[in-house]
Amino acid sequence: GDSASVEAVADGKRIVVIPKGTTHVFWRSVEAGARDAATALGLEMTFKGPLRENDRATQKQLVQQFIGERVAGIALAPLDAKALVPEVLQAKERGIPVVIIDSALDGTPGEDFASFVATDNEKSGRLAGEEMVRLLGGGGRVVVLRYQVGSASTTAREEGFLQAARAGGLDVLVDNRYAGATIGEAKTAALNLADELRRADGVFCPCEPVTNGMVLAFDQLGLLGKKQLVGFDASPPLVAALRDGKVQALVVQNPRRMGRLAVEHLKALIDGARVDTVVDTGCVLATRANMDRPEVARLLR
């Protein structure tokens, strides 16, 4: 209620978590982790992303507004490495601790902002690439269906994958197509690549909607299980697909941990303690073989 929020502000207990968007499963898990931690630590948490996915301008507006409201701390998944720098510096000036999550921001963690809690995207891309090399036995043709123009984290994954794939001797058939923001667009983009997909031996998708769209397209083209498909992130249909052998591997991040750590860091910073400046929340390669192991199964839920 209202009076509670006043007190929270007065006590320096209100923190905000600003994701890149709100409609992907990934951010849902970040929110869940953050909320658990906030409840445990007695903080009041607001979770608010830009209205339109991938809109730098509205994300900046949000950050500015929360700085204006003098919240006690901000956890931010920046849509852009540079665009949000001024806001983060402004928060620092006002004495509001900022924890950057998920994607990098220009500047030095520990100096320009308090800490950086994220998956190492390039590394996770390489992980996927190495798995693909393994699946294809060191030779073959692959297709990369990119996510969206200008999205830094997925670009890093795509580059990581390409590096590892080329190093492993794979042929890259297509790497200049972008899927678009939604599953529907991804499916259509994938279907338009039908011939390339048929010629390819393996396919990489850098995030959940693309992977989901690719599974749907494979289903339609009758390619499910015939090609090696390495995707990213977990959602119920993808986990089912992994179990059925329709997807060979999923690189799964640890969004709950990311959210939890972000909030714990903020609490520590509000209390004046010190925190690790860079934390890799890690990622795991989930396959049919290991998906029931508790440490993997936890991430797939």
Binding site: T22, T23, V25, R28, E53, V149, V174, N176, R177, Y178, A181, T182, I183, G184, K187, T188, A189, L191, N192, L193, A194, D195, L216, Q220, S235, P236, P237
Partner: protein
């Protein structure tokens, strides 16, 4: 006379042939012309094509609908919800199409000026859904629908009317319906159980997928209604000159409401196809479909001033855009090149049509002594 008419109707067909021929020549090795690829393109046209049929009706009536993308997302979410709750394909299909039609009623009622009645009805129905949502989404929805209908009937005595421009109404709903779609799924897609009937709608197979037949059937019925029924002629008159239609005893309110319900029923059917295409309800789907549907209608010969438009032209217009997307991929153009080419082709298609139109008129002039 009939030859001239046929020629005029064939405008978009010529455009399609031109674009298709171009890509067939440029991409000879990408089996662009294969049956499998053709089938794929038809399949990918089904959703936007069906929406474009509705858009054409609205444009002929002199209106516009900017909310069709959001409407598709919302209707598909409702269908996915009903499916997830285990009511089976037919209930889900009904719910999807009905949601589309309901949105049409909402737009139409706001456009004709029944704002107070709409606020009452929607407010009441929302409250009922809220109170009754323990019954399960389908039954709560049906119950709310019944109660809403009662309130709507009862409130007919409220005579205060405030007509709004459809551009504004649907611009508002463009955001609001998408918000509702996101809220319905709690910001997440809804993943129903796998349903074979649903999936088979949009699955390419031996012959044409059922989704394409649905598109053709919708287009045929809509076209017949528009040209041959009294309602259709009234809609054309409305778009051609509102004042004249009123003087001639066309019931403007009922006709306009009818147009939006009918057109948004098409959007509901498109939503069903989209649900089948994605096999899930995605609240972010269909962004930009509103402009695609309008572009298809206009490429097909509709005039945004109202009174003019061809249903099959609109379907061909939608197909042209699919062909461009597909062909650009076959040619391995970069995405940005594809966007430029698509934009150029929209302008070129319309320019071609206008040019043919003007030529035809001057030729007709020369033919007569």
């Amino acid at each position: 006379m009939n030859l001239a008419k046929a020629l005029r109707a064939s405008g978009p067909l010529l455009g399609l042939a031109a674009v298709w021929g171009l890509f067939a020549v440029l991409a000879p090795h990408g089996n662009f012309t294969s049956w499998a690829n053709t089938e794929l393109m038809l399949l990918q046209t089904a959703v936007v094509g069906t929406a474009a049929v509705g858009a054409t009706w609205i444009i002929v009536s002199g209106g516009i609908d900017l909310s069709v993308g959001a409407n598709i997302a919302l209707s598909a979410m409702v269908g996915a919800l009903v499916l997830r709750d285990g009511h089976g394909f037919w209930w889900a299909a009904l719910a999807t199409v009905c949601t589309g039609a309901l949105v049409g009623w909402l737009i139409g009622a706001l456009v004709v000026g029944a704002l107070p009645r709409v606020v009452l009805t929607v407010g009441f129905a929302t409250a009922v859904v809220w109170a009754a949502h323990g019954m399960g989404s389908l039954w709560a929805g049906c119950f709310a629908l019944a109660c809403g209908a009662l309130v709507w009937r009862w409130s007919a005595r409220i005579r205060w009317s405030l007509p709004l421009s459809p551009f504004i109404v649907t611009l508002g709903l463009w955001g609001a319906l998408r918000g509702a779609a996101k809220g319905l799924g709690n910001n997440q897609p809804i993943y129903p159980e796998r349903d074979e009937t649903l999936l088979s709608l949009m699955k390419p197979g031996g012959s044409l997928p059922p989704g394409v037949w649905v598109l053709l059937a919708v287009a045929l019925v809509a076209s017949l209604l528009l040209r041959r029924s009294v309602f259709g002629r009234h809609v054309t008159a409305l778009g051609s000159s509102r004042e004249t239609a009123r003087l001639c005893g066309v019931d403007l309110q009922r006709t306009e409401l009818g147009v939006y319900v009918l057109a948004c029923t098409c959007a509901g059917i498109a939503a069903l196809l989209q649900l089948s295409y994605l096999s899930m309800g995605d609240p972010t789907t269909g962004q930009g479909y509103e402009l695609k549907a309008i572009a298809a209608a206009v490429i097909g010969g509709a005039s945004l001033a109202g009174g003019e438009g061809s249903i099959f032209g609109a379907v061909l217009g939608a197909l042209i855009m699919t062909v461009v997307d597909n062909g650009c991929t076959k040619l391995q153009f970069d995405n940005w090149v594809q966007e430029i080419v698509t934009g150029g082709i929209i302008v070129a298609a319309v320019a071609l049509d206008r040019w043919r139109h003007s030529r035809e008129v001057s030729r007709a002039a020369r033919r007569v002594p």
